[in-house]
Amino acid sequence: MSKQIWETRPLEIWGKAKELRANFQKAINEAAASPNSLLAHGNTGGVDWSVGFDGLNVVEDNPIGAIMASRSDSFSREARLASEIRGWGRELCGYVNNCWGCQFLGYDSPDGAPFPYRQLSVPLPDPCDQHAKRGQQCMDLSPIPRFGADWPMYLGPIDPERESALVEHKVQCILHVINEIERIFGKKYDDEKLFNVLDIVPRVQVLVTKIAQLMANVPAPLGLKELYSFYTLSVLTKIDPQEMLDFWKAFVDEVQWRVDNKIAAVATERYRWMEAHPSPWHFLRYFRYMEQYGAVCIGSQYSHMLVEPFKLNDDGTIGREEQVKVPEGQKIRTREDALRSIFREARGERFKDDEYFRKHVITDFAKAFHVDGAIMPLWRAGVGCTLTRKEQGLRLSEMGVRVLHYEGAQPGDRTDLDEHDFLDRLDIWMESQGLEKLA
């Protein structure tokens, strides 16, 4: 029997994505050099409220830390050493240790580009403890204004009784941050820009959900490695909201075209696997290695995070769970209205929340994408990357999905990942499922 070979071809939108990423970096560099711009650490989840401040650029420790890990092992080691000798623990997330080391060294790349020091900090609240503590280092370095917010959590279905006080708490935290930035830095917050984002974000969410649904096709139009090039655009990589919308529209069109024309990510696709959390950024080569088996990774809760909260539709496709909506006809007239419409629910919508109160998502995801296997890294550092991974593996095994675990330090830290051992494991895992490398 002849084996099916699908056509493959590079993505045309790749150039646009690179341009948007370059513009983001340029804005940070210009802000670092300009007395009229502000660099901020962190954000507060949900819709990007910071867009209302003209000239404010948000620079999180991630993606800086992840980029460093993939670009230069020796430099990220140098940075982590600079951090560790000052007392930061070895069980800390590699992203932050890379980034904090750069702050101590004063530069953020091997070519000596200056580190973009932040002028205010809003630690990103998150179910991950490392995120909650993340904003402190840039305030330790210099006495910059600092704020906070919470990521409320409870178990079980939505509880209206618990919601009201917790939502109010979130709203008031962010109002305080915006008011204080206005007061301290003399910057005027443009509420209209926030209202505009509120209009655009749901439209983007429809588009990213469409892409996730298209990934269920055989052959998969993209692989996880490709998704990794795009999924941060509009989240960690801040771009103009209209550009963001235009980009995702064009991206959906191209992916739809690939599906319609059976353009594959992997020409010999015969095996599909999923992941849950980030892969080792310095060793994405294993995706190419797996192609030798005709295996494609259709993504993870992490790479499809813009779709969250996931829902398994009745027709078996992946969808987005309906959130509590702004009452019909209710106009958003003030900043407070806008924030209340962002924080309609106390708990978050991120993939990390799944491990607390949406445990079914991991198996729903496997069903929607018809996966054969799951690769679930066990990261020793970075509690948010590790919590419940074993449980998730067991749940997938119980439904017949073959699970492979491997160990490492953290996606941004190369120290403990034995790459040869990892590839050996992949070989054994695939062979144990009766698959051999294709000639």
Partner: protein
Amino acid sequence: MKTFKEILENRHAYAKDWKARTGGKVLGFYDTYFPEEVAYAAGLLPLRLLASHCEDALTDRLMYGNCYCTRDIFNQFMLGRYDYVDGLVSIESCQWWYNAFDTTLIEFPELWSHYLFTTDYVDARTSKDAVFSELKIFVKRLEEWIGKTVTDEALDNAIDVYNKNRALLRQLYQLRRFDRTAVLGSEVMEIMLANQVMDKAEANVMLESLLPELEARAPQEDGVRLMLIGSETYDAKLEKLVESLGANIVTDELDNGTAYILNDVIPMKNRLMAIGLRYLGKPHSALKDNVWRRRPEHIYQLYEDFQADGVIIAKQIYCHPHGSDMYAVWKLLRERNIPYHTFERDTTLPYEETKLGVEALISMIKPGMTRLHGWSK
């Protein structure tokens, strides 16, 4: 009367006996941010789940990368040692605690359970309202579970009992002040740990009888005074090791040490708000001190108050909150020329290795201690 040490060593027997005597339920909790007063007012025994040191062949199936404390507590559930626990509460704190709660409920779904959110950002203007709301809901859930109302009188009584307990324990800490050190660090730690698994009214009776005895003791011989900080501890082995080297742990900054006793509930008409404010105002743990870095200064104040000569930092391996606070603590200690020794704990205390490190610290401190050479007399 049983001693605190005996109760600590036989804590499961104590809780079982308490259940038999009172007919009450036992509610296990993981973190000292849990407002025990509320559970106590409901007639429950709030039981701090403490790790032990036993072989673990079970937890790997569901856990990875956890600190040993969380693994061990789950392991003890699996081994049936906590078979008398009727319910579990997880408070918003370290994620490993949540993981222990989560995995335990996977294996023991019949346990009553509740996740109580206390703000991680403790300084927000609305933190107190969020915590108050969560406490109200917690009381409601408790009432549904136990089938009776938690009255204001019961809350007042619980507040009184717990405030008294904290005051007595603060008196105990005073017995290691510089001018008259009457007790050893290991004795204090055993009392602190036993107290956390006891009915506080019973603990108070024991403390009231014990404190005058301790106060009447002849003071200890002057020696190297050390402060212990870091992750939580579940026994007094380190304190005993330090004592075997002629030094004494005279204070600590531990969740189950001073952080457990330093502030009281200030009575208010709104009892739950009063309780909530106590927990929002307590000396914060490495995790909850996530904005203003108040913890290092607090450590320094305790160090000064108890006139310590040096610091031991004992951190659990894989304890990320302390891993992300160490920098600030080291910085402060270095800036103020305070000698310190840091080491990591795991399931057991590596005796010889730890001894060597502590010995080196003591040897470093001793030559500069003029009072020990008689120069200040």
